[in-house]
Each structure stands twice: as C-alpha cells, then as structure tokens.
C-alpha cells in the first residue's frame, strides 16, 4: 500500500493506542519499583543473593517491557493507518509468567527461611 493510501485513524483509536502504551510504561515502572523493593526490603535471613536475583529479573523484565511498549505503539499505529488487523503481542504473556514465577520464588524463600 502506498503512502497516499494510508489514512490517519479516528482520533479515539489513536488516543487509545497512546493510553495502552502508557499502561505498558507504568507496568515497567512498577516492575522497577518491585525489583528495588525486593533488594531493599525482602528479608531472607541475611542472604543477599535471592533478593538480588529477584530484583535483577524484575528490572530486566521492566526494561524489555519499555522497549516492547514503544515498538508495539509504532506497529499498532502503522496497522491502523493501513486499515490492517492489530498484530498479536506476547508482552502480556511474558509479563504474567515472569511475575508469577518471581512472586512464587519470593514467597517460597520467605516461608522457608
């Protein structure tokens, strides 16, 4: 499709795309805050490394989400301009799996220490 055939989408969809992007950014920021809190506040009986591993995984997940969010916003806008279907994303799956696993490990360490 040529550039002339592209159409600017309805502004409501553009704003919804922007809000989705911001929701991803907030999720990233929450992952960062969770990572810092894990290192700062997770009391694992003097052991530092479990909290640090949880922190690194959470912050790394946040960084991937930040990059993915911007890419997703661009791809969505481009699809809307072309009148194509919105592409499927795996970011929420990655986020849910990481948070569930990290949360369970943190819980186990806290209970077994």
């Amino acid at each position: 499709m040529t550039e002339e055939q592209q159409q600017e989408p309805d502004y409501r969809f553009t704003l919804a795309n922007e809000r989705t992007y911001l929701a991803y950014l907030r999720t990233s920021l929450t992952c960062y805050a969770g990572g810092l809190s894990a290192v700062q506040f997770l009391n694992l009986g003097g052991e530092r490394w479990p909290g640090r591993v949880i922190g690194i995984v959470l912050v790394a997940t946040g960084i991937i989400t930040t990059l993915g969010a911007f890419r997703r916003w661009q791809v969505n806008l481009s699809a809307m301009r072309l009148g194509a279907r919105l592409p499927v994303t795996r970011i929420p799956l990655m986020l849910a799996a990481t948070i569930a696993v990290v949360g369970l490990i943190g819980l186990l360490f806290s209970l077994l220490r």
Partner: protein, 110 residues
Amino acid sequence: MTQPPAPPPPGAQPPGLQPERTLLAWRRTSLGLVANGLLLLTSGIGTSDVRLGLGIVVTVLALSCWATVSAVYRHLRHDPGGLGSDRVLRVAAGLVLLVGLFDLYAVVTR
C-alpha cells in the same frame, strides 16, 4: 455498527472524555516515575553516594515530567492528537528506559 464521529474541526475541543482519560494516563505514568525516583533515593540514603545522586536526578526529572505533562496538555488541549506526538512518546520511552538502567545499577550494587 456505529459510525466513528467526524474529526473535530481544527481549534475545537474534541468531543468525549478520551483526551481527559489520556491526560490522566500521562499523570499516572509521571507519578510512577516520581515513585521510582523516591525509591531510588531512599535506597541510596546512608549507603551509597552514587545511588543517592541517581535518586535525586530521577526525582527531579520525574517532577519536571509531571509539570511538563500538565503544561503541554494545556498548550495542546485543542489538538485532537493530544499529547501523543511521536517525539513526546520517544522522550517518555527514553526517560523510563533511563530510570530502568539506574534501577538495574541500584539492584546490582545493593
């Protein structure tokens, strides 16, 4: 199926609550940045000058972001595109990424 509304004429306030919801989404995101700045700041107090410095930088940046969001929105409130110019979104992603890298440093050196 409902037809989408015609785009508002230039200079007119777009109908509906979409711009307001988008502004609130920006405000929540700025608040998330402020929370990260303060957390980074407290993680450095009494332990590391570097983390303390990074915390101050992030907090100041986040508060500026909060003020800018309101100012830019006031300026652009008659633009149906709202805040979401490509450049603004790039800056937001860059800022969040920077905070992420600072947080990663704080987590690794803690």
